[in-house]
């Protein structure tokens, strides 16, 4: 299997990437690590005419501490997130979850920005940035803007990024409540989550329970009202819309969500 023909362009700077995208039009796509996009292109589910490789923009690979926030460059690989001492200390949820993405080979190539911009509802890191109330920084022809994680994932594989915009940074507030957990249920080691849960303090976000990653608002309300983990987790499947597919039925996913949310809350409390 090889992708349909396309024209490959390599950007040496963010400005050049934006210019190449403006010239490429609707059928151009940014390529970061390619661990989500290239498999889709090989299956011909994605058929871009132009690929703009931003993978060499080394200036966008970093984890640093700025004004109470941890700033993560969009091209930081999952491997570098998982092994960052700073991230493991200050945002262990993100470091741990990044270490659970795919397998080592995929974590060496795949990037957080690529994963978030791809916005697969079964991906791990979108739910993590939701639980962390992170902010996305996007650069585009009209300048730089901030997008709250809550507003970023708009639909199935759709984000609030406008045509031509490039996600450049993820800004994570240092969590006020320390307890965290990331739970993922898969059939085999490297599979996508059938259901996943990210918990940070009283924030609870779900993987693969709707067209986008979602916050489990009713669970959060129950927790803040003092419910115990099991009682709060009973609300996990409310307002969700999980798929019914070869991996799991809708009912099974809802059951899994309740079980995993309870486990996640219990684990987070143990760490809090």
């Amino acid at each position: 299997m090889i992708p349909a023909s396309f024209t490959y362009k390599r950007a040496q700077s963010v400005d050049e990437a934006l210019d190449l995208m403006a010239a490429g039009g609707d059928e151009a796509k940014y390529l970061a690590g390619g661990q989500s996009l290239l498999p889709l292109m090989k299956l011909r589910l994605a058929v871009p005419e132009t690929l703009i490789d931003v993978g060499r923009l080394g200036g966008l690979s970093y984890v640093r501490d700025e004004d109470g926030h941890i700033c993560v460059g969009a091209l930081t690989s999952h491997h570098d997130l998982a092994t960052s001492e700073l991230l493991r200390r200050d945002v262990p949820l993100m470091a741990h979850a990044a270490g659970q993405v795919g397998d080592p080979q995929i974590r060496h190539r795949g990037t957080i920005g690529g994963s978030l911009a791809h916005a697969d509802p079964a991906a791990d890191l979108p739910a993590v940035v939701l639980a962390l109330d992170a902010t996305m920084i996007a650069q585009g022809p009209a300048g730089t803007r901030e997008i709250a994680a809550r507003d970023f994932f708009t639909d199935f594989f759709e984000t609030a990024l406008r045509p031509g915009e490039l996600l450049t940074e993820i800004r994570v507030p240092k969590p006020a409540q320390a307890g965290w957990s990331f739970q993922k249920f898969t059939k085999r080691a490297i599979d996508w989550a059938i259901v996943g849960v990210a918990v940070q303090g009283g924030n609870v976000a779900l993987v693969n329970m709707a067209q986008t990653p979602v916050r489990a608002g009713m669970v959060e309300q129950a927790l803040s009202a003092g419910a115990d983990p099991a009682a709060a987790a009973a609300h996990a499947a409310e307002a969700t819309n999980p798929a019914d597919d070869l991996n799991a039925t809708t009912g099974y996913r809802k059951h899994l969500a309740e079980v995993l949310v309870r486990r996640a809350i219990e684990e987070a409390r143990g760490r809090g």
């Binding site: 023909s5 390619g34 661990q35």
Partner: protein, 156 residues
């Protein structure tokens, strides 16, 4: 496009279609056919090579993305015809292969794992090889081989 990759220490240059995958570049342009195309969907790991020292699945990397960079395949591991790499020796000694199809990728994944974690536990070896499938189900001996290679290196 013109792509130049340093493969096992030697420069390989070729004019390839933009959509050429690294695994095809290695097999058809560098004529190094140990790296296998297994599932071709980023699942099985038979195509694993090192890109700038880190394991990657070469069926899910464009040759263009490796342009100007360094790739190591299993052919580049041995220091000489009679001097296998420690991981290769351990796979032989511990019977870490049956049919051998997954072996080039397994060995490269193991080399990358040991580069990052010189003394892994058995559990760390098993999770470190999660991206590589063996249809002969030879995992126990493969894990033993990686642990033996780690022990040999630490002993040195």
């Amino acid at each position: 496009m013109e792509v130049t990759v340093t493969v096992n220490g030697s420069q390989v240059a070729a004019d390839v279609a933009d959509r050429t995958l690294l695994v095809h570049f290695l097999r058809e342009r560098a004529n190094l056919t140990a790296t296998k195309v297994g599932c071709d969907t980023s699942s099985c790991g038979a195509c694993t090579v090192l890109l700038d020292g880190q394991s990657v699945k070469s069926c899910t990397v464009l040759a263009a993305q490796a342009d100007g960079r360094s790739v190591t395949t299993v052919e580049g591991l041995a220091a000489g015809p009679d001097e296998f790499h420690a991981v290769q020796r351990a796979f032989q000694a511990e019977h870490g292969l049956q049919c051998g199809f997954c072996t080039p990728g397994m060995v490269m994944a193991a080399v990358s794992l040991l580069n990052e974690n010189a003394a892994p536990t058995e559990e760390e070896v098993r999770s470190g090889l999660e991206g590589n499938l063996c249809r002969c189900t030879g995992y126990h001996n493969i894990v033993r081989a990686v642990l033996a290679a780690a022990a040999e290196r630490v002993a040195q």
